[in-house]
């Protein structure tokens, strides 16, 4: 994870676009500028970044399902629960599954666990829209390729 760059997912470990499921890994760094403010003397991963992590795992699953022809954008987060603190060095496993594949939108259920213990969970709604430009599409494809390749090694 590079928290300050919102680069949350390190590896895609399992992905089934047809079933709409993904298991991804995110390694919390030991150091990050984020920890300087959250919190001084007691570094913790901010809950909003855990939500972002669940959204990104869901997003990669949806991108794969959409064959990168459209982009899912975060629209709504429902019932997000932060169950325990996440400290530097934690290894996070992010599970997401498609709850509903609508027309122009999708909804997922996602959760993060660490050492077999549930960290947080939420339901997440996305708007499915055309890519605003080719640069974003290209960057998303590159990032997906990078984290998928890492998983295969």
């Amino acid at each position: 994870m590079l928290l300050e760059y919102f680069q949350m997912i390190d590896n895609i470990e399992q992905l089934d676009p047809d079933r709409g499921t993904i298991l991804a890994r995110a390694d919390v760094p030991m150091e990050s500028p984020v920890f300087e403010g959250h919190f001084p003397g007691s570094p913790l991963v901010p809950g909003v970044l855990l939500i972002e992590t669940m959204a990104q795992a869901s997003g990669f699953m949806l991108l794969s399902r959409l064959k990168f022809e459209k982009m899912p954008f975060l629209a709504n987060v429902t019932g997000a629960k932060m169950r325990t603190f996440v400290e530097p060095g934690a290894v996070l496993m992010v599970n997401a599954e498609l709850e509903h594949d609508g027309s122009g939108f999708a909804k997922t259920r996602a959760e993060i666990s660490s050492d077999g213990k549930k960290i947080c969970d939420s339901r997440i709604m996305f708007r499915i829209m055309p890519f605003p430009n080719e640069t974003l599409k290209s960057n998303m494809l590159d990032r997906f390729s990078q984290i998928s390749r890492l998983a295969a090694e």
Binding site: G102, S103, M125, R127
Partner: protein, 93 residues
């Protein structure tokens, strides 16, 4: 048996926190009830789930972008329910 309108009205009331008695068939979801496009995603999700369908929201949006005058044709609740019934009928055909 609950009618399509009754089911849709309950969904709108629950998802958008609008009193049920204010939701009547001649109301436009956007201009009369103040629902915005984000709220409508929740409504579309609940309608899809309730009726076991996939309302063609993308197609409607494209058609509206081409001709904004159609907004009442899609989002006056009586018309919306007619369209939902069409989608249900097409699914069951």
């Amino acid at each position: 048996m609950t009618t399509t309108f009754e089911a849709v009205a309950e969904i709108i009331s629950e998802t958008s926190d609008i009193p049920l008695e204010e939701i009547t068939p001649e109301k436009n979801a956007f201009t009369d009830l103040g629902i915005d496009s984000l709220d409508f995603l929740d409504i579309a999700f609940a309608i899809d789930k309730h009726f076991g369908i996939k309302i063609p929201l993308e197609q409607w949006t494209e058609e509206l972008n081409e001709n904004n005058a159609l907004v009442d044709e899609y989002f006056v609740l009586s018309k919306l329910c007619e369209r939902i019934d069409e989608v249900i009928a097409a699914k069951d055909a």
